[in-house]
């Protein structure tokens, strides 16, 4: 639990630093995870789904994002705190292409106590600038998820999924 509180502090600190930027976006999205590797074995199939909300700030060609993602898998519901850093690779009047790297500490929501969960992801994102204040985006990339505690106490939990995301962004 101490580890999780520490992570929350990092996320809050990241959010405060985002607030120092000039251009903010509030992003809400849905993520779908077709799975490739399940518990260290090649086992394709649908893995899970999630909903996310995040605050993003743009500075020159760089984008920083912090937020919350809630989803489910065959092991129950989970909660992740994504921290993303990205770079806009290509920019035109209506389209942005960017790439992101993310780390996502979080929790598997179990009783009587949760398990620590961790995910890392690389993604490419295409954003359509519908207006100056609104974007629609599509992203895709591999995500690695593990829970060392669950793996040690119950059964191996290591997955590689493909994250297919759709999201909308509102300029704040």
């Amino acid at each position: 639990m101490k580890r999780f509180l520490f992570i929350i502090l990092i996320v809050l600190a990241a959010s405060v630093s985002l607030a120092a930027e000039d251009s903010f976006w509030l992003n809400t999205g849905l993520n779908f995870f077709p799975g490739l590797i399940y518990d260290r074995n090649w086992d394709p199939g649908y893995s899970s789904s999630a909903a996310s909300i995040s605050l993003a700030a743009e500075k020159d060609s760089f984008v920083f994002e912090a937020g919350l993602e809630t989803g489910y898998s065959d092991k129950g519901f989970n909660l992740l705190l994504p921290l993303k850093a990205g770079m806009i690779i290509s920019h035109s009047e209506k389209l942005n292409i960017s790439s992101f790297a993310s780390v996502m500490p979080g929790l598997m929501l179990n009783r009587p106590s949760p398990f620590f969960l961790f995910a890392a992801e690389l993604a490419a994102k295409i954003s359509w600038l519908v207006s100056d204040d609104f974007t629609l985006s599509f992203s895709i990339g591999p995500r690695y998820t593990t829970s060392p505690d669950y793996s040690r106490e119950v059964a191996p939990l290591e997955m590689i999924d493909l994250n297919i995301g759709i999201s909308s962004g509102f300029r704040l």
């Binding site: 903010f24 509030l26 799975g35 399940y38 518990d39 074995n41 086992d43 199939g45 893995s47 899970s48 909903a51 909300i53 919350l68 809630t70 489910y72 898998s73 065959d74 092991k75 129950g76 519901f77 909660l79 929501l109 179990n110 009783r111 009587p112 106590s113 949760p114 398990f115 106490e153 119950v154 059964a155 509102f170 704040l172």
Partner: protein, 264 residues
């Protein structure tokens, strides 16, 4: 002006996140209180994305399979201890299904896609604990020709899923002091299942095989979570017997049900 707009949006989103978080935390699943790797039954346990398969070691292949629907918001692995012991003795294949978010209501017919992987099995007996039992009854109601028997564990069918005329036989096991599903509610659903006969340790006389039937047995001193290896579950009473003794009685009545029906 822009700052006010920003604050308003931020407050709205924060409230939304808090509400969502409350719902999510209410949906915490019970975790196993053991590791399936520690099971010492003479079985192999193979876990895939869809299910956990338990198979006896050094046993002739059986034409009977047990398909298990886990209870709501319970990690499916909590049932491996009980079902590994059953599988070892019954010498058949047992498949515990995994459910999205551990809620069988999201994939009621999950069993249909799994049983196609076992073409050698001709008799599928479906079982479920709590919500899993109700969803098992729902899939039997929709696919009556697929399953030969049904086992409820602290469970009963939902109102719309009458199995009164279903040709298969039913075993209902419930823990005497469980509060979560309330035995009184189970009693009220007797008109949804084939005609019932109560079995006790003193009288274990099965009905004649001329027509479909339900046999019901109450296990004294057990709690709702005793069907798995987890808990205690919120709202449950304190059990007065050990989990090992409870499991032994569950397995005993399951074996008898399988034997009476000629499945093992």
């Amino acid at each position: 002006m822009k700052n006010n707009k920003f604050r308003r949006r931020l407050y709205r989103q924060t409230i939304l996140i808090l509400i969502l978080s409350i719902f999510i935390f209410a949906g915490c699943s019970y975790r196993p209180t053991f590791s399936p790797a520690d099971i010492d039954a003479d079985v192999t346990i193979l876990e895939t994305r869809q299910a956990i398969e338990i198979a006896p070691i050094n046993a002739a292949s059986s034409n009977t399979g047990l398909l298990f629907y886990p209870g709501g918001l319970v990690d499916s692995r909590v049932y491996t201890e009980l079902l590994a012991d059953f599988t070892e003795t019954a010498k058949l294949i047992t498949v515990i299904l995994k459910m999205p978010a551990n809620l069988a209501i999201f994939d009621i017919d999950a069993g249909l896609s799994v049983i196609t992987d076992y073409p050698e099995i001709t008799d599928w007996i479906i079982a479920g604990h709590s919500l899993g039992g109700s969803m098992a009854a729902a899939t039997v109601s929709e696919n009556p020709d697929v399953y030969s028997g049904l086992i409820f564990m602290d469970s009963y069918p939902a109102d719309g899923d009458s199995l009164k005329t279903w040709p298969g036989n039913v075993l209902t096991l419930f823990s005497s002091i469980e509060k979560v599903n309330e035995p009184e509610r189970m009693q009220k659903t007797l008109d949804l299942i084939p005609p019932a006969t109560w079995l006790t340790d003193a009288s274990r006389l099965y009905p004649s095989a001329d027509s479909n039937y339900t046999v019901i047995h109450q296990i004294d001193g057990g709690s709702h979570s005793y069907f798995g290896t987890y808990g205690p579950q919120d709202g449950d009473y304190t059990p007065t017997v050990s989990r090992a003794d409870f499991h032994e009685e569950v397995i005993d009545y399951m074996l008898e049900f399988f034997t009476e029906n000629g499945w093992i």
